[in-house]
Subunit: 459 residues, 2 copies
């Protein structure tokens, strides 16, 4: 049997593959909210069953948080092929603000849109749809009797909530999980018809700050003036995070931020990225990051500081003249090169503390810290995958960067000693982490075909 | 019959008067939240019935929001006495954060505490307990057959939500509501055993700001850097509201702010106010208002800008790397002297707009605007009331200021052409607008006795 038979099988099976994905999307596996813990178990069980139905060994493995799914199989050519670890995550983002969804987030459906057929629902793109492209490729290889490389599956359930159990799990199961190279499907196409292999990923450092002032909420008439207002203190501190040129002011922040090589800058310029179209698609016209940097640089190779959430005082309908006892913010930093997340966390905390008035205190809560990843593309598996992708898609595959953080790639390197190939089929318009998330049917279909081509070369 | 008989009646009736107040406190008449509109109707009905039970005419009057209660009666000495309008409000503040209450906010009870007996529950002090001191005084005068001055009652149900219906109602019913002087019971004792007649009240200007950037929530990995973050823009703007000396930077803000007269400053210094104790009671040690001003000045005679609420992005449990489409704040200004709230609103809005990046927009929503009030104490009714209060309490009554805003006093002057006597029996520790609000039984009891003495003098 040949690869062509596999691809034909994928084409014919697309309706059934879509039904399977819709079933997985109906499980509301939000990891950050404990109310959905049971749904995460259900999603993990579903994946275990699906892998077993393909003849793979598969198990749900408990962690202190949401479970991992681990599976093994393939190696049908004996010891000749590569041993790959495939990683995806079955947990999804929260769905608020719910009122902006046009349909229940966990009642997915296939929709015909002016831009083509899409699968609509929370997790359709991030990451259930992407994860299933790989599973469906394996299913088609099995059905067509085409040899698979040796595969270890690892599906995580805490990717959207900082992966608290991941490192201990990798450390405890390193011997079982080690492979020659990791395959990660959680990234995007570079453009319509142009697949990419992501070789640069920003790291992520999350911090939650609580500023406390008066020991209880006060009436702003009786105390306004002499009593310090924690929201005012928090605003003042957050306002100092960036200077007027968009640079981040945390002391030592730029230690380990490499300047882009001329070679890479040339490659990226050749991609013909349309800054205005990228910004215009979300209603913007000006690049708001560091002055003098292109949009691709600002996203792929420059670090950031963002306020992801802020709250304090009265936030309901109407007005309440309260002078609140505390104010909160969730702040995150995207990291590049060899920036050290732990050193930056320390420096950020010191910077906040240095700006506190005498009557205020601060409490910090860390939400994960991962370094950036830069892949070594001299491994021939990268070129094999690039050629396989180029066979499937109209345009040649490119090595690209990514602004998002997939800490797993760093952990695979540091704990399991292997590089990662980041190959995904998402699109900028997928609205992941936003209302009305979708995954293009074309991404799902050609993504599955792409993995079949890659697996065939790696076997 | 004499005043002594009235006071004896009040003493004997205290348990029944307390029961009546507890019944009123059980009605959750939160005006700012539409979910409690029906409860506001119930509270108004309750007051109508209670006034009628005393032989007063009373009616609930519809407004576009919560209803007014209007009553008439007294004038038992013919045309000789004063005609007073008594004002209170039956609506209460929201109760969040609910988890900080030690008891259901609307299940009030009498509690014995180390500082004496208190009535605990939302609205106990602000303003149901205060309002009922006047009603109970009337009840005792009626029961003892002692003549009342002519009284018009006006109970509002929107005081805690900016009084949107008040001005149109006063204008439409000016002839019915006009009196010689208004009595308002919504303020505090100056100190334990020292009653005050408040003669300076700060005005209040409320503004809600919504800053919009990207047209939808974005993933901070994919867009962080080039996409403008509305929380960052909002923080930067709010951080400019005060300069390093605590002065407010809104252009023209200090127009109409009078410098304190030496006479008044001397009077206030003589009150022996303890700055450290006032701040220490809420866990603070430093006066955070304008540099070089005493705490009493900062509260009574200086204007402020406060951020009463802020929200945007992800504020739930865990972390979500969202770059939000919008960010919000509720800002209020306390005004003094002849500061013009409308001019300040315009100037504030211009100041915000001037700081907006090109890709952001702002929407403003006004939440009420009232000028400060300064009473004319040459009206002999003030001195009569001061003497009556001094008869009831251990220490002589004082003319004082108040940091809170009671816009009604300004409207009584501008619409009905009368001054107001602001007499109340609250205490700094009443935790109004906060969890675990209470009213001292002593305030309730001696407050009722105080009004009886005042009414007797004014009749």
């Amino acid at each position: 049997m040949t690869l062509d038979a596999v691809l034909s099988h994928i084409d014919a099976e697309l309706p059934n593959a879509t039904d399977r994905l819709l079933r997985l999307l109906r499980i509301p596996s939000i990891s950050t909210d404990p109310a959905y813990a049971e749904a995460c178990e259900t999603a993990a069980d579903w994946l275990v069953e699906d892998l077993r139905s393909l003849g793979f060994e598969a198990e749900k493995r408990a962690t202190p948080g949401r479970p991992m799914v681990v599976g093994h199989g393939g190696g049908d050519n004996g010891t000749g092929g590569r041993h790959v670890l495939f990683y995806g995550h079955y947990d999804v983002q929260p769905v608020d603000p719910l009122n902006l969804w046009h349909r229940e987030p966990f009642d997915p459906e296939v929709q015909d849109t002016p831009d083509g057929r899409v699968i609509r629902g929370r997790g359709a793109s991030d990451d259930k749809g992407q994860l299933m492209t790989f599973v469906e490729a394996c299913r088609a290889m099995k059905a067509a009797g085409v040899p698979l490389p040796r595969i270890t599956f690892l599906f995580e359930g805490e990717e959207e909530s900082g992966s608290p159990s991941l490192v201990p799990f990798l450390e405890a199961n390193a011997e079982e999980l080690k492979a020659d190279v990791a395959l990660i499907c959680d990234t995007s196409l570079f453009a319509e018809d142009t697949p990419g292999i992501t070789t640069m990923l920003r790291g992520l450092l999350g911090e939650e700050i609580t500023i406390r002032g008066p020991e209880r909420d006060l009436h702003s008439g009786f105390y306004g003036g002499p009593a310090i207002n924690p929201i005012r203190v928090l605003s003042k501190i957050l306002a100092t995070l960036h200077d007027d040129t968009g640079r981040i002011t945390v002391p030592g922040f730029y230690d380990g931020v490499p300047e882009l090589t001329d070679e890479l800058r040339d490659q990226w310029q050749a991609l013909g990225f349309d800054d205005a179209a990228f910004l215009g698609a979300v209603g913007l016209s000006q690049a708001a990051g560091e002055e003098g940097r292109s949009v691709l640089e600002q996203i792929w190779s420059r670090p950031t500081a963002e306020i992801n959430g802020i709250w304090g005082g009265y936030t309901g309908a109407g007005f309440k003249t309260v002078l609140p006892a505390e104010a909160h913010a969730k702040v995150s930093f995207r990291l590049v090169g060899t920036q050290d997340p732990h050193a930056i966390r320390d420096s950020f905390r010191k910077m906040v503390e240095a700006q506190l008035p005498e009557d205020c205190s601060v409490e910090f809560h860390g939400h994960g810290a991962s370094q950036a990843s830069v892949m070594n593309i001299s491994d021939p598996a990268f070129e094999a995958a690039r050629e396989a992708l180029s066979d499937e898609w109209p345009n040649e595959a490119a090595y690209i960067g990514a602004g998002g953080s997939i800490p797993i790639a760093g952990y695979f390197k540091s704990i399991l000693g292997m590089d990662s190939m980041l190959i995904g089929f998402g699109r900028d318009g997928d609205q992941i982490h936003s209302p009305n998330e979708k995954y293009d049917m074309k991404s799902f279909h050609k993504g599955t075909r792409s993995w079949a081509r890659i697996l065939d070369r790696l076997a």
